[in-house]
């Protein structure tokens, strides 16, 4: 009996140790990023353009670029994803088409992001002639975000109680009216939190925009959708691996990384918090 008790205590300690090691590593990571990043972070860093071949100045063009890419990606993926989820939950015929769609969604979700980048480069940039541009990068990121948005929307729609749709249909509303006036408004908070979570995901992606949208060095802001842009994630990579003054570039990379990290964490935390609020307020 004593041996069994000892074993019990020991395994509890080991399991707790796994959690502790993970937590310690992540805390080291976050503290290090905040410490190094905050040394260069300033208002000027955020709002000025890079100078002196990336060894001085700020990240304003990269901030704008990431904003544009993200907005464009979500603007494409959200309507498409929501419509696909509606078909999946309310029309969904024939059944074999649903199976194919499910395989497509799961495969899209599991495909490595570099493959999206290659696809975007081959199809949008080369075949369709969009050049390396905000448009090509935004479309590539949109396909990447699509499975996330479809899955979230489907889940949101499925949490709408059956009584709601049945009551609406019993009152003589058509399927379309039921979807647009009952189901979507009820599911909207959850659909939106899903969309916000996908923003966080899209903003941090590097591999898909490497060959479709991003440029290492640009002093001016893009003026049209066919211009190439700087973007925060690619900027970090470029500062760390290209250029000739690592001593000056690495601190800027840390600053950029902290900005990206804060943005992504804040956006996702907002979404998670909103979801928590909606769940608590839910009255059905």
């Amino acid at each position: 009996m004593r041996r069994r008790k000892l074993k019990n205590t020991l395994s509890t300690v080991i399991l707790g140790f796994a959690l502790l090691v993970t937590a310690l590593f992540l805390i080291t990571f976050l503290v290090h990023m905040f410490y190094k990043g905050s040394m260069v972070l300033s208002w000027e860093f955020l709002t000025s353009v890079p100078r002196n071949s990336m060894t001085e100045g700020g990240i304003w063009p990269a901030l704008v670029g990431t904003f544009l890419l993200t907005v464009l990606a979500v603007a494409f993926a959200l309507p498409l994803g929501v419509m696909t989820a509606i078909w999946l939950t309310h029309y969904g015929k024939p059944a074999w088409l649903i199976s194919i769609l499910r395989v497509a969604i799961n495969s899209l979700a599991g495909t490595p992001s570099i493959i999206f980048g290659l696809f975007g480069m081959a199809v949008f940039v080369n075949i369709m002639g969009m050049d390396v541009s905000v448009l090509a990068g935004g479309l590539t990121l949109a396909i990447l975000a699509l499975p996330v948005i479809i899955n979230n929307t489907e889940e949101a729609i499925r949490t709408v109680p059956h009584e709601f749709t049945e009551a609406s249909l019993a009152l003589g509303a058509t399927t379309r009216q039921t979807i647009t006036r009952v189901v979507l408004p009820t599911a909207l908070p959850n659909i939106l939190t899903g969309a916000i979570l996908s923003i966080g995901r899209v903003a941090g992606e590097t591999a898909p925009i490497m060959f479709t949208a991003a440029t290492f060095y640009s002093r001016k802001l893009p003026t049209s959708l066919t211009d190439e842009v700087m973007a925060l994630p690619y900027h970090i990579y470029a500062l760390m691996t290209e250029g000739t003054h690592p001593d000056k570039q690495v601190p800027i990379a840390y600053g950029t990384a902290l900005v990206l990290l804060l943005m992504v964490l804040l956006v996702s935390a907002t979404a998670i918090y909103l979801r928590y609020l909606f769940r608590r307020k839910k009255q059905w």
């Binding site: 019990n8 399991l15 990571f29 290090h32 995901r201 690495v250 992504v264």
Partner: protein, 288 residues
């Protein structure tokens, strides 16, 4: 009028669903179209089983064995770190921690899963690699070991959140029955709960594998980039993904080098597709 609107709405959602399928088909078509022509010059066997990646030489050679081994090496290393940590954390959160701790940790795990990989790459390159170089007295800290650590920590959230879901969906009467037979908590966990959640846990490991093998930025920045088969974990390597990312900029559209990188993408795609399909099979087994 009313029926026309109905039909139109239904038709639009139908088109959206078809378009989603089309996206997947377009990706497959896109990479195969650009990558398959390579195999007119290089045989599939040569491509996968020979170790000589010299795409830019006057007599170019496209034997990707070292890249494939590199991918597998960092991925296995990552799993060796992530499975014990992720699974251990998941068991602790689901079976030992109180509900308050659980409610606090779950959103944190979700947040961590969203940290951009390029930030981990920067951390690995500027913080971990110099330490590893010092500790083990190496020429470079950018190697299989460092890449595995960073990659491993990156996939811990995936493995732990999915395993935690699997563990907490084990019905509580299994735990109660085990306890009632006089088993200690650890016996209950390892002989009753974990076996019952086995398929879900396996699924989480498979998805972690898929994520790690396809991850680009971390290995590109931290694995070192030498296209040799590593003989020890402290040697640099060059996985499939970082080869594609590092060399694509040097290619001319349509040349052999360009095609070979797309051929690597096909290989990578098939690996992740197979992983996903297996995971799905395992998962649907669980539901049955």
């Amino acid at each position: 009028m009313k029926t026309l609107k109905e039909k139109l709405f239904q038709y639009i959602t139908y088109l959206a669903a078809l378009f989603t399928i089309l996206c997947m088909l377009a990706i497959i078509f896109g990479i195969f179209r650009e990558g398959l022509p390579l195999f007119r010059v290089v045989s599939l066997k040569q491509f996968i089983f020979t170790n000589n990646w010299y795409p830019t030489h006057a007599e170019p050679a496209f034997g990707a064995l070292a890249l494939i081994v590199g991918s597998l090496a960092v991925t296995l290393g990552a799993l060796l770190i992530a499975v014990p940590l992720g699974l251990g954390s998941a068991i602790f959160i689901s079976e030992i921690a109180g509900s308050k701790l659980r409610e606090a940790i779950k959103p944190i795990i979700e947040l961590l899963a969203g940290i951009p990989s390029v930030v981990y790459g920067l951390f690995g390159m500027a913080f971990l690699a110099p330490l590893v170089r010092q500790w083990f007295n190496l020429d470079t800290g950018l190697n299989v070991f460092s890449a595995s650590i960073i990659l491993g920590v990156m996939i811990v959230p995936i493995i732990s959140s999915l395993s935690e879901d699997a563990l907490s969906s084990v019905p509580s009467n299994i735990r109660e029955a085990s306890m009632a037979l006089g088993a200690t908590r650890s016996e209950t966990i390892f002989r009753a709960v974990v076996p019952a959640a086995r398929n879900g846990i396996l699924c989480s490991v498979l998805l972690g594998f898929g994520r790690a093998v396809g991850e680009t930025m971390v290995v590109l920045m931290v694995a070192g980039g030498a296209a040799n088969i590593p003989t020890s974990i402290f040697e640099p390597t060059r996985p499939i993904t970082s080869t594609i990312a590092a060399e694509m900029g040097e290619t001319v559209v349509g040349d052999l080098h360009y095609q070979s990188l797309f051929a690597l993408a096909i290989l990578l795609f098939l690996i992740t597709l197979a992983t996903n399909l297996i995971a799905e099979l395992v998962f649907s087994n669980r539901r049955r």
